[in-house]
Amino acid sequence: MSEPFELELTVNGTPRTVRVAPLRRLLDVLREDLALTGTKEGCGEGECGACSVFVDGELVNSCLVAACQVEGCDVRTVEAPDLGNVQAAFLEEGGAQCGICTPGMVLAVQAFVDEWAARGREPDDVELRAALAGNLCRCTGYEKILASARTALRRARP
């Protein structure tokens, strides 16, 4: 297929169908075809993480994923209804400045919380920084972002 095809996928719990070219970036499918502009484009080459989304539960950069690879997949973006704990932590800790990196940061922190909530120990700083290493903040508000992640993790624990 070089022609556009009918892409069926689930976005934030809702089944969607869009006609797109097979190599269209998932980022563009979300922002332009589905008008979900929460997902941001920073670098467009996999370095900055602003475009991070979950595909079938895995954190990926949507600028590096082709439409033909997400047929039937479950995609979650910053517009997903179940990110409230992490979003509240960012608000409280002042984890956002200009906000461009924030959607990607929120999803990376959610992945970090999912990974660590069930573990018996606290992640150390190296482990926390490694979990967010794929997300760059041009406003350099890293300390508050790290604080947001710690707060979100604390609240997610039983």
Binding site: L23, G44, E45, L64, A130
Partner: protein, 286 residues
């Protein structure tokens, strides 16, 4: 540029059939962490693309003869999550942990790292040092190639247009083999390597009995460092000997270039120092 023709096979057989009649410049798309950047920048404008990502037959890590066989689509994250990979190929898992960051590790595949044949592909020196083989598959059969024969030059491989990488095998660890991996980049995460070194060696009665070493980012593609074995096998690991081996390998086995990230002279010096440090650690049993 006209839009590329994209095939999304649902099974390995379908993929092989698609490749059987494919144009020579047809591109295989795996996790896309390398290719999507190429497409977007226009550096690569393919006419035909075959997407492999949904072929679960090419996933998974399993035992083979006390070693390991990995499907080509095995991601860095899959390696990090595999106890078998950790037990059989610890240094490969260490290398996977330093590829990009989480988002990249979730998509970057072993087959894609080999497929790029990039000098800066971090897994390839490890595969070389561990004596890995690549299984190439086509509609007409399959063949196994040692990684050093698969990687033929700068972003060039021995793959025929009708073939894909099906899997990669790492042989069983020789008794007592010690291994080291080290990546030098500009920062801890998500940086393109300046130098990568992988070592596998055995010692008996205070002498090296086998040495296999490889490096990345110091030549057009990942390369073996035969001088290390030539200098060290049969010798005790004394300081002067290790110094000489590191110096000779950096001089004779590397062919680094000047580019925006480093100069050739810097890379050669770093290679020598990193080899020396890692040989010392290896000899000390670390």
């Amino acid at each position: 540029m006209s839009a590329p023709r994209v095939t999304v096979p649902r099974s390995l057989d379908e993929a092989l059939a698609a490749l059987a009649g494919a144009a020579p410049e047809t591109l295989l798309l795996a996790g896309g962490t390398d290719l999507m950047v190429e497409f977007e920048s226009g550096r690569t404008a393919p006419r035909d693309v075959v997407s492999l990502w949904r072929l679960d037959e090419l996933r998974g890590v399993r035992d083979e003869g006390g070693g390991l066989r990995m499907g080509a689509l095995t991601t860095c994250a899959d390696l990090l999550g595999s106890d078998l990979a950790r037990a059989r190929a610890d240094v490969l898992v260490d290398a996977a942990a330093e590829v990009g960051a989480v988002q990249i590790q979730n998509r970057a595949t072993v087959g894609g790292n080999l497929g790029t044949a990039s000098p800066a592909a971090d897994l390839n020196p490890v595969l070389l040092a561990l004596g890995a083989t690549v299984r190439l598959r086509s509609a007409s059969g399959s063949r196994d190639l040692p990684v050093e024969e698969f990687l033929t030059g700068y972003r060039a491989t021995a793959r025929r247009p009708d073939e894909l990488i099906e899997s990669i095998a790492i042989p069983a660890r020789p008794a007592g083999e010690r291994r080291r991996f080290r990546k030098v980049g500009t920062r801890r995460a998500q940086s393109i390597s300046k130098v990568v070194v992988a070592l596998a060696a055995t010692l008996a009665d205070g002498r090296f009995t086998a040495v296999r070493a490889a490096a990345g980012s110091v030549a057009p593609t990942a390369v073996l460092l035969p001088s290390l074995a030539a200098e060290l096998v049969g010798q005790p690991p004394d300081e002067a000997r290790l110094d000489a081996a590191a110096r000779r390998a950096a001089r004779d086995d590397a062919a680094p270039i000047d580019d925006v990230r480093s100069t050739a002279a810097y890379r050669r010096l770093v290679l020598q120092r990193v080899l020396r440090t890692e040989l010392g650690a290896l000899a000390a049993g670390a």
